[in-house]
Symmetry: D2
Subunit: 335 residues, 4 copies
Amino acid sequence: MTARFAVLGAGRIGQVHARAISSTAGASLVAVADALPAAAEAMAGTYGCDIRSIDAIEKATDVDAVVICTPTDTHADLIERFARAGKAIFCEKPVDLSIDRVRRCLDVVDQTGATLMVGFNRRFDPDFIASKAAIDRGAIGKVEMVTITSRDPGAPPLDYIPRSGGIFRDMTIHDFDMARWLLGEEPTTVLAAASVLTDPRIGELGDFDSVNVILRTGSGRQAVITNSRRASYGYDQRIEVHGEKGSVAAANTHESKVQIATSDGFRKPPLLNFFMTRYTAAYANEIAAFIEAINAGTAPPTSGEDGLKALALAEAALLSVKERRAVEVSEVLGR
Amino acid sequence: MTARFAVLGAGRIGQVHARAISSTAGASLVAVADALPAAAEAMAGTYGCDIRSIDAIEKATDVDAVVICTPTDTHADLIERFARAGKAIFCEKPVDLSIDRVRRCLDVVDQTGATLMVGFNRRFDPDFIASKAAIDRGAIGKVEMVTITSRDPGAPPLDYIPRSGGIFRDMTIHDFDMARWLLGEEPTTVLAAASVLTDPRIGELGDFDSVNVILRTGSGRQAVITNSRRASYGYDQRIEVHGEKGSVAAANTHESKVQIATSDGFRKPPLLNFFMTRYTAAYANEIAAFIEAINAGTAPPTSGEDGLKALALAEAALLSVKERRAVEVSEVLGR
Amino acid sequence: MTARFAVLGAGRIGQVHARAISSTAGASLVAVADALPAAAEAMAGTYGCDIRSIDAIEKATDVDAVVICTPTDTHADLIERFARAGKAIFCEKPVDLSIDRVRRCLDVVDQTGATLMVGFNRRFDPDFIASKAAIDRGAIGKVEMVTITSRDPGAPPLDYIPRSGGIFRDMTIHDFDMARWLLGEEPTTVLAAASVLTDPRIGELGDFDSVNVILRTGSGRQAVITNSRRASYGYDQRIEVHGEKGSVAAANTHESKVQIATSDGFRKPPLLNFFMTRYTAAYANEIAAFIEAINAGTAPPTSGEDGLKALALAEAALLSVKERRAVEVSEVLGR
Amino acid sequence: MTARFAVLGAGRIGQVHARAISSTAGASLVAVADALPAAAEAMAGTYGCDIRSIDAIEKATDVDAVVICTPTDTHADLIERFARAGKAIFCEKPVDLSIDRVRRCLDVVDQTGATLMVGFNRRFDPDFIASKAAIDRGAIGKVEMVTITSRDPGAPPLDYIPRSGGIFRDMTIHDFDMARWLLGEEPTTVLAAASVLTDPRIGELGDFDSVNVILRTGSGRQAVITNSRRASYGYDQRIEVHGEKGSVAAANTHESKVQIATSDGFRKPPLLNFFMTRYTAAYANEIAAFIEAINAGTAPPTSGEDGLKALALAEAALLSVKERRAVEVSEVLGR
């Protein structure tokens, strides 16, 4: 069986998904929609698919699934529309920046019985998969502590910051999802500290660039997340999980595995410093997992609920910084 | 000039210092005192020094300096006695488990003008020295974030725990000192989470075995400390400092630098798993720094004030756990 | 411009090239030929190309270039035919197992002015490219010594060995090419030692499984090649180049970058152990370089001459083993 | 029991041994002899031992053992004298530069029944010991190939070269001993290539600075040795042993375990670049093994025979370079 796709939004990440869909057995790219004609035409030209409006895709009988790569503030509406239209939906994180809006959207998904996958690309990185597999086969025994280090090479454009939802919702959200996945138990308490160290204009916009977060689960497992919007040496993406029998750690990805030794010492190159290069395999695996779920009729590996819970941790972290206290996730998650 | 030493307490750590003193140019070991005659005799036999009472050492004219390696609850009293006796004093951390008692003791040291060094051995580890030197020469620019991972191979004997002062005062205190040293700025706020994950009896004694702490300085620099009383793979001791221009990290010390490759993969041996083996060079460097300070008439590199401030961070962390909030160091440090 | 390709031989390596051609801008796959109808049909089905006979491809006006992936003993004949037919030719190494036959074949290529690229995939590996680039930009100064370690996970099927030409022509030939490339100067003298250590049947077939070779250039630069047909830990592929100012080394590629620490030590996974997985990127880069050369009308990066010279080093090594002496390359290369 | 030592030759290496002897339980330093009064006085002052003539030490009844650290051309004579005097003898390698002279000397040792240890310090390096132990416990199965990389930071003073015996006898001799030890079987055939690449004056003195050697044992095991008198990045000392079940490798020793990451990449410091610093632990272990052998009445771990066989490999390598052929060790070793 071949799942027939439409891509909504032909920007950077849309192109990544289009390439993956068109080169995956079991999937075909039928249509693209984008408000910018040039972007849509470029994608249509490369992959030989139609250019259509979102309305047309919604009504199309030759489209089984949509991949939503439009701006964040359109995500929840589009999910609801396509859920009602009976399409399978892959949506880039986040569903929305507001927990209430996410809830209402997921209610619609539930009522329609639609298939929804929210993209958390890191869960599909080969090294993180291998780490999780080692944990799941008992290599380190019961998980005790998770350490996630995540540093961007640089801050996003300043004009993006006000609509990003802030560092916790925009950047740390990936680490919150990783922490939930690796802890194997839901965090209940959040402690966070936040600073502006790399650019005072980030602070003037009400955001932070350097944060540390401690998550604690009901049984006492803990995760620590360290984030910075600055890393001179590339895109720093590490996880380490400590358990009763040992520890598992995934190392960073350098530009090459070449080491040069001189009188100055032994030098390895910087890390891959663009997230789409660093996570090339992860993006391909992610969409493959969605295709596989559609074709098999199973639940996708990352759900709307995963998107909601990561967002709740972000809100709790922000509240912890503001009120200088430990925050219960239930305070922000409500019901 | 040769500084003449007496060692108070001929136990494990006393022996380490005795060996260092007796093999260092500029120092000689004159006497040992220990409540256990066998311990004192063993040390006297090995190094050819006298066995004397603490009273006799206090009055001796052929002793310039004492090294206090007795149980923690005797430290403050002994520091005061020997400060008044005009001896230079090296005391193993902590001065005392009570901030008030430490304050009173340091007041006596101030009034007498005595030389006091409080032992924080890790500052003298060659790899940590090289890390700090790299920071000080500007290799990573302004410091932003410090990450300290410190895991013991196993918990101390359960009967030690009640008199240890708890994990923050007993174990994390070393990391608090490292954090202060590496941050280059005094932490003002402490957030901590604590769990019992390795042995429920530790919890029954009112202590924890797994903790994470976030420290924040006035300008927003942050340090994260991760501690566990369990590490199957040896004594885990890592630091990483992130700055505006890059990052410096000191790796762990394995039993050897041998790697074995088989069909199971590539295996390096576990870490050195005894603190005295891991920090052999650090202990030697530490006492050498004390000897050098005495002989040069300069202030020792780690002071009573350092002991006090690390203890204050421990108290603040404990309060943060209890009250589930960010704690200002000034709350516990008072004046 | 789009170069139109035919693939001769639809086996394992032919499929790799077909996939690369069909996914590269500037190239299209027009036809496949294979003596086995099923193999040809599978490739035609996957890529939507024609199935044709070699004769038909030779005469085709819609084919600009051929990729020869047939058995070794057909290579020289096919190169000559397609050179005369005016097609650009990519041929898997070796051109032939006989130096004389290679010479005659290259003479035809010269006379016809055909474009010929002989496939030495390793030159296109990203880590080896980065190593060579470091050398070329002067990072280690003048090259003095090259060390190449190349170990296969296991021996080829025994029935392949008699037609393989022996380990020097079949396996070491890749390392001879790498050595020439990295030395930056032609080797003139060869010393070799060879043993049978992994399977006595290899010796019964007149071949070896464990060899070491020293190459020496006119100015005294040296290369050492270490080969084994056995490596329990995966496909071992390392290079190290030592120069007056330092050294450059490319590390092996593990199955993942995950390390697991337990009481047994720190374990990384084995190496990728299949050459086509290990060199996935190299194969893609290689055919891209051929396409680029055709479209630009320039000489391909690896030539028939490269094939000849690597083969000459193999013959010299074999002669060195037999006669237990240093062999001049000119002895085997003649004119 | 305490073995009473005299050190003959109070130079750099004599001082290393004196320090080790004086700090080892079971040994005491009684006397030193040196043609330079200042050198003898310095050692006597540091360790509180006598200054005596070699004659006096030969006749002394309070000396059980001598450590010969005088120039190479005195070794054989001194060994013979002290063997006849009934002293246990530790002699720095080599016994002599001439195989015949070594043979005659060892004959005297045999006739007198004296205890003789020839110093091959590398066998006592903790990482190499751990490697050998892994091999001996079967971690890699039967040994097939040994790879030894040994590069000095720089050439010795030019005036030393003529009396050094050449690079094979002076430098590679350590690697020949390591190869014998790690192969677990005596090499029978030697192939070598040699160049002058770092300084033409070395060539003018008839020596080489860059060599590669292949050793082959009777059963076909092989060792490759790579030597250079130049390494910009420190003292390069690596071993790797490949066997039927896997491989064991000992990594180099860096100045520290600190890594600095910046936009230029990840930098580790150069290697320890002075042999006495690199092998500090090895020298201490070596003399401890000699003391232990004396006190236990057992054969020392490295014998005069070891010295002879390493020298024979050096001569065979030199002959291989000169005659451009494989040389049998029996050709140079005679009987």
